[in-house]
Symmetry: C2
DNA sequence: GTCTATATGCTGATAGAC
DNA sequence: GTCTATCAGCATATAGAC
């Protein structure tokens, strides 16, 4: 089993590749980053990149994957809360926190169609993300108005959090503002200071 | 002045080209539509397309332009309203109406980075769209919370209106739901039936 | 002023040698 | 696991016909 040891050379190259991809994607966008650029930065050829990932889309998916897994975890935690109010607050706070912490990534998601498709594919499995989020935020039988409201909130928060307009804001400020906007939109009562 | 008559051959080709581009963009997305496809559909060569528009970006800008001009008009009308309440309702209703009527286009805007850039360029002129919208919806001195709230609303409405999830909804249903969500988020009082 | 023919240097992707 | 070689298709560009 020596060849299955954690730190094989291939694993290392693969993670180096991913790290390089994230950096270049953030700097030039996904569309503005070619496999050639990634390969050059790594000191290998394009074909070597293709050994680790069959397509460019697969790279963007791999970049997005960790954040999506975090999101699933937030949903699990939120669903485990006892009261409806706690479920809503936990889901909203977790979602906002993810957006703020992964701002750069979110900005990428918002502007690149390939990443959006990758997310869609990941989210439309049996563990449908959007359905779960709607259930958490608008209850088990939300109706059309509820579904649309949740859609507007989630899309709005994600786009706003990733927008370059607010990239100078520190995490805490952005997080608390987005959270309060979300709460207000969901009709949650005001909290004490 | 005969050569400046309205219906020159070039003008006709140019508008046919634009109509074809809109259709193909809607079917295959901007990235999925090549200049070759547009040229073939028109029965001309790629170079002919290139004669009318210097770049592909210029085509996407031209596709988005009419809707953006409509938006400017909505802002002008809203600003001309007497009461703050009427300004807010007019701006919101106009924005939502635009999104719903141009749903296909909005969906394109939301998924294509090139179109997004084109819009940005158009909107960040002296007549800054976002600043005007914030002033209309959150008042002349909105503060950070106000700016963020408006951003979340506008982004959320646009993304939701263009989303494939709701493409089966008829215009009136979608419009009224989006409008109500927006009003609620802006703290506007309930209307009578 | 409007278009065709042709070419350049990219891109993502594949096949096969080492 | 990484290489070289090669592919078709892309946006873009220019020269020149009419």
């Amino acid at each position: 089993m020596a060849s299955m040891t954690v730190g094989t050379v291939a694993e290392d190259t693969k993670s180096r590749l991913l790290a390089t991809a994230v950096r270049l994607f953030s700097e030039h966008g996904v569309g503005g980053t070619s496999l050639q650029m990634i390969a050059d930065e790594l000191g290998v050829t394009k074909a070597a990149v293709y050994y680790h990932f069959k397509t460019k889309d697969e790279i963007t998916e791999a970049v997005a994957a960790p954040a999506l897994r975090e999101l699933e975890q937030v949903l699990d935690e939120a669903a485990a809360q006892r009261s409806r109010g706690a479920q809503i607050d936990h889901a909203l706070a977790g979602f906002v926190d993810l957006i703020v912490r992964h701002r750069t990534l979110v900005a990428l998601f918002n502007t690149d169609p390939g990443v959006a498709r990758a997310i869609d594919r990941s989210l439309r499995g049996e563990e449908n993300f959007k359905t779960r989020m709607v259930t958490l935020l608008a209850g088990p039988e939300p109706g059309l108005a509820g579904v649309i409201t949740v859609h507007v909130i989630l899309a709005g928060l994600a786009l706003t959090g990733g927008a370059p307009d607010h990239e100078d804001l520190d995490d805490d400020t952005l997080r608390s503002h987005l959270f309060e906007v979300g709460r207000r939109m969901l009709g949650r009562p005001k909290r004490r200071a």
